[in-house]
């Protein structure tokens, strides 16, 4: 968004007084902005609007070839959704994933960033690359590999446990352990991104602040508590919001690893939406799920901004 918008603004700023053909400058601006505006319109604005309209219809299989014929059902999809026990299960699972997963990701990301910033200087690049690699690796590939790792009979984790004399559980097939297993994988995968962002944040903190704190008698922990954390507050806010929004859209991990099972214990909201929309072809109903998820994401992001900014 920034580049064309900026170009447009610059063009506008550079424009001479109105008498000298402003339409031409406008045209230049719009030409620069056009690729974005057109793509945004076709690929984002239109579908977003269309799915909003859809959420008030019973659009499904029979309307595929003739969408204009679908029936308007008002708020029925939303009423059905809130009385659907599977929806509440999926909502619970998603929040379980977010509430446990987001703090773990941020804490581990911050710990590793701090360690890399201060302690380990020799192989910093190696570690940075190592932690970041999972972020850029295809999530499906990762999920498949983790499925092997977590295999109850031939998986590396249970073989290691077996070597210690522990009979490892069926991680992904156990209703209690399935979600924690997925959280562990997601945290491992995403802490690299948190680390990179925190590292950038840490390096932006002037060294003199620590020196001043040290002169005042602050130890390492106090330096962290009273210098690092307050200085990182904007970074933490950013990471919390970004990670929460990402985690609320949990999909690939359970889709590849568990298919939502066992007993729907890893069925996320997005998976439920996918199932309704593209397996059962209740696309009107699925659109209503999308909008409920949208409202939830917006509300959570709003809360986080409010809460984390309150001290400023």
């Amino acid at each position: 968004m920034t580049v064309p918008a900026l170009a447009q603004r610059r063009a506008a700023e550079a424009a001479p007084p109105a008498s000298r053909r402003p339409w031409r400058d406008d045209l230049v601006g719009w030409t620069f902005a056009a690729p974005f505006v057109i793509l945004f319109g076709i690929f984002l604005a239109f579908p977003i609007l269309a799915s909003f309209v859809l959420s008030f219809t019973s659009f499904g299989l029979k309307d595929l070839a003739n969408p204009v014929g679908s029936t308007v059902v008002g708020l029925k999809n939303y009423v059905d959704l809130f009385s659907d026990p599977v929806f509440w299960t999926a909502l619970f699972n998603t929040f379980y994933f977010v509430i446990v997963g987001v703090p773990l990701t941020l804490v581990f990301g911050l710990l590793i960033a701090t360690a890399l910033n201060r302690g380990v200087s020799r192989f910093r690049t190696v570690f940075r690359v190592g932690y970041y690699l999972p972020v850029i690796t295809s999530i499906v590939a990762i999920a498949v590999v983790w499925r092997f790792l977590l295999d109850p009979d031939v998986g590396l984790i249970n073989m290691a446990l077996g070597g210690l004399g522990i009979n490892g559980p069926a991680w992904l097939a156990d209703p209690v352990l399935a979600m924690p297993s997925i959280i562990a994988m997601a945290v491992w995968r995403n802490l690299g991104f948190a680390m990179i962002v925190f590292l950038a944040g840490l390096q932006a903190i002037p060294a003199m602040l620590y020196e001043a704190a040290a002169i005042d008698g602050a130890g390492r922990w106090q330096g962290f508590r009273y210098v690092t954390l307050p200085m990182l507050r904007p970074t933490i806010l950013f990471m919390t919001v970004i990670t929460t929004i990402g985690y609320l859209q949990l999909f690939e991990e359970p889709f590849v690893m568990t298919g939502g099972g066992p007993l729907n214990k890893t069925l996320s909201i997005t998976m439920y939406m996918y199932q309704q929309g593209f397996t059962f072809f209740h696309q009107g109903f699925a659109s209503s799920i999308a909008y409920v998820l949208f409202v939830i994401v917006a509300f959570v992001a709003f809360l986080q901004f409010k809460f984390l900014r309150s001290d400023e």
Binding site: I42, F43, L44, F46, P47, I48, L49, A50, S51, V53, L54, T57, F59, G60, L61, K62, D63, L64, A65, N66, P67, V68, G69, S70, T71, V72, V73, I139, V140, R147, P152, A170, L172, A173, D174, P175, Q249, F251, E252, M257, T258, G259, G261, P262, L263, N264, T270, M273, Y274, Q275, G277, F278, T279, F280, F281, H282, Q283, A286, S287, A290
Partner: protein, 443 residues
């Protein structure tokens, strides 16, 4: 209540952040579709009205029809169909058949996208369990009367009938038999395959206690395809003749009780990881019995290596009231938007000719859906394949209703609750019935 809408989205599959991108693709697809097609080419209102609407073209094999066909086929069929298409083109000068292979994982998405965009192939393969859904899109042509139901296995033909109209022709079939380890059975003191339900239970128990296997049998903890044969064999069914669900009939409760007893007795694992592969487990001998289709013959040959062939055998479905197994496979459908329907049906006729069916079996080992093809020695003389042929005479399929994928998911969910011990069989049957009534049969 019938107010028209101007916009809409339809399906498309995208892997990551699926919904948004799918919605986007869909939106564009519709725009294109709206611009590119003549309005009013399809009438809304579902499948009921179209039986009368489309007149069946009279296809006689002798008629020479030229032109171009586009055919979509999935998986291995999509790769190999070119061979048959080449023969067809040779036999029918002036015709061109373009075969497009479609990945099974993308099949539903690709077909629904094509239907929404009015960019359908002339002919496509379709899973027997997809018929209800796709008939509901009103995009399929009615099968002309030149195709005789009696030519095919009855249960295979029936998968094509939705609300009384025939929308497809069976192409190939598969059914499920019992694979069991003969060496472990011998060790357990059993020399004959299980003929009845009681035999099956006795055998599973003995294989675990005396045969040295970890489990007695490997049953699906959440797989309707493995449960339904027990329901059918006990005289029950998903729906009665009037189309009313009867998933909590006494027969169903009894079948569920029997199915559950293997889990309760620890004869089969209660929790099975997603994507669990039974093949290596069967070769290793931890799971000495399982129900599966003909594809496992080849898989076992590869996984078992030399000498393993002597260690296993096939047995028909064990009998209760009947010995009914599940039938699946692929059908062939012709689309209403096809520009060359006569040639399309001619191609379908060619593919379902007994001779072609035998050639097709030789090429890709798909079992013929046409009964006459089974008289050929290549099928008759293979002991294992012949057993599948026998079983095919007593098979049933899921009802061809548009809501089947949803109902199947619900059945799997309830089965999982039962096999994991959360629900007893009676409660599971009641839950299945309730779910089915809520989901309904679609329109």
């Amino acid at each position: 209540m019938l107010q028209p809408l101007s916009t809409s989205r339809r399906s498309s599959r995208a892997r990551s952040r699926p919904f948004r991108f799918a919605a986007i693709l869909a939106g564009v697809g519709l725009l294109v579709a709206a611009c590119g097609t003549n309005a009013g080419s399809t009438a809304p209102g579902g499948s009921a009205s179209q039986a009368a609407g489309s007149q069946a073209p009279a296809v006689s094999p002798a008629a020479s029809v030229g032109g171009t066909l586009t055919v979509w086929a999935m998986g291995n069929e999509g790769v190999k169909l070119k061979d048959l298409a080449a023969t067809f083109m040779k036999d029918n000068p002036g015709t061109t058949v373009n075969v497009t292979p479609v990945d099974w994982g993308q099949a539903v998405a690709k077909l629904t996208t094509a239907i929404a965009g009015h960019q359908v192939p002339d002919v496509s393969q379709m899973g027997t369990d997809m018929m209800g859904q796709f008939a509901a899109t009103a995009a399929l042509e009615t099968v002309p009367a030149t195709f005789q139901a009696s030519t095919f296995f009855q249960a295979a033909w029936n998968t094509n009938i939705v609300n009384g109209t025939v929308y497809g022709v069976p192409w190939y079939v598969e059914t499920r038999l019992l694979y069991y380890r003969t060496d472990i059975a011998t060790k357990a003191g059993i020399s004959t395959p299980p003929a009845t339900w009681d035999d099956l239970m006795t055998m599973a128990t003995a294989m675990k206690s005396k045969g040295g296997a970890t489990w007695g049998i490997g049953l699906g903890a959440k797989n309707w395809q493995e449960y339904l044969p027990f329901l059918w064999s006990n005289g029950g069914d998903v729906m009665d003749a009037q189309g009313k669900f009867q998933l909590n009939s006494p027969q169903a409760v009894e079948a569920l009780t029997f199915y559950e007893s293997f889990f309760k007795a620890g004869l089969t694992p209660k929790s099975v990881p997603a994507n669990f592969d039974i093949t290596p487990a069967f070769v290793a001998g931890t799971h000495p019995m399982f129900f599966s289709g003909p594809w496992h013959i080849g898989l076992l040959k590869t996984a078992g290596g030399a000498g393993f062939d002597a260690k296993w055998a096939l047995a028909p479905m064990p009998k209760k009231v009947t010995a009914t197994s599940f039938i699946g496979g692929g059908n062939l459908v012709v689309y209403k938007d096809s520009k060359n329907k006569d040639l399309a049906w001619k191609f379908v006729q060619y593919l379902t000719d007994p001779k072609t069916q035998v050639a097709w079996y030789a090429d890709v080992t798909d079992l013929p859906a046409v009964q006459a093809a089974w008289d050929d020695p290549t099928l008759k003389n293979d002991k294992n394949v012949a057993l599948f042929g026998q079983q095919l005479k007593d098979t049933k399929a899921q009802p061809a209703i548009s809501t089947w994928s949803e109902l199947a998911t619900a059945l799997n969910g309830t089965l999982e609750k039962m096999t994991s011990g959360t629900l007893d069989p009676k409660a599971a049957a009641d839950e299945m019935q309730k779910e089915a009534e809520t989901i309904g049969v679609g329109k």
